[in-house]
């Protein structure tokens, strides 16, 4: 029996401490999805709680067709999307809103390790990540921080693989543009 199956069986059998272990195992993923989508810490905390209560209520419907993490991630994405819809906030932006090509040449002098250690550059990049549209923010986090594959991310968000790849590409391209704007400014 896999870890997921064992844990789900224990939760459904109301084994003491089992649901707490499930939360501990998946809370980072839920937080990443919800916080990246809604950005507001208090709303994100409440919604994360709702996600787990919903998981608890519907766990008997989980059919082991995907990993438990993917299934829970899907619940989190759906709760967060509904919240954005209620607030009439856009999930993604239209292609016409995307910025044009990036500055191609900001000079060759770039020291990766020095840039990593430079607090201001890192803060600038974090602000640029925060400024991405909710869907792109979530996708880059699932891919880079949670190290999920394109197919898993597609299952969570309900997007085709090609669309996920395209969003990831555009998000990183936009971040490079923001970075180069800063590097251009301090050069």
């Amino acid at each position: 029996m896999s870890d997921d199956q064992e844990l789900v069986t224990e939760v459904l059998a109301r084994t003491p401490g089992a649901f707490e272990r499930l939360i501990a195992r998946h809370k980072a993923l839920v937080w990443h999805v919800v916080y990246r989508m809604v950005k507001h810490p208090e709303d994100a905390r409440e919604l994360s709680q709702d996600v787990f209560l919903r998981v608890h209520q519907r766990l008997h419907q989980y059919r082991f067709e995907s990993s438990l993490a993917t299934w829970i991630g899907r619940v989190a994405f759906s709760v967060a999307s509904r919240h954005l819809q209620k607030k009439k906030l856009p999930l993604a932006e239209s292609a016409s809103d995307e910025e044009g090509d990036v500055l191609d040449d900001v000079g060759d002098g770039f020291d990766l390790e020095a840039a990593c250690a430079d607090r201001e550059t890192v803060d600038h990049l974090n602000a640029a990540i925060e400024a991405l549209p909710p869907l792109q923010r979530t996708l880059v986090t699932l891919y880079h921080l949670d190290e999920m594959g394109i197919a898993e991310i597609g299952t969570i968000t309900g997007l085709p693989d090609g669309t996920v790849k395209n969003y990831l590409f555009r998000a990183r391209q936009r971040l490079r543009q923001r970075l180069e704007t800063r590097l251009g400014a301090i050069a």
Binding site: F52, L112, Q173
Partner: protein
Amino acid sequence: MNTNDQDMRLQDEAERAEREGLAAGRDPRVDRYRLIMRALRQPLEPRLPADFDVHVAGLALRRDGDGIEDLLVSLLLLAMGVGALLFVGPSLAKMMQAMVSIKLPALPWHQVVMAAICIGVVWAIDQGWMRTHRDSRHS
């Protein structure tokens, strides 16, 4: 090669370089993407509170308890209803017979029915509005 194809290649190279821990400094454009990928791997701030697991697991258990409580209350109400029906059944039957024998006044019944439907519709709309209003306040 257009800008997007070139960027795609740079991103792929940056990802591979990060995964394999290659030395930086060969291509500044790849290194910029490597910096972005490192920033994206940083843990999120703020985080969930430390007692989140315990708190939410407790809430879920209490909800389970509420479910059983609701079921017991429903069963009790049902038993009370059946008991009351058995107790007042005979007298209720007599009362019904008496009511049937009463001649109803000649009211415009179709208008009464229409008025009842209108009241029902207005009440339903009002309930729906209140629920929407309450949800939007909570969200």
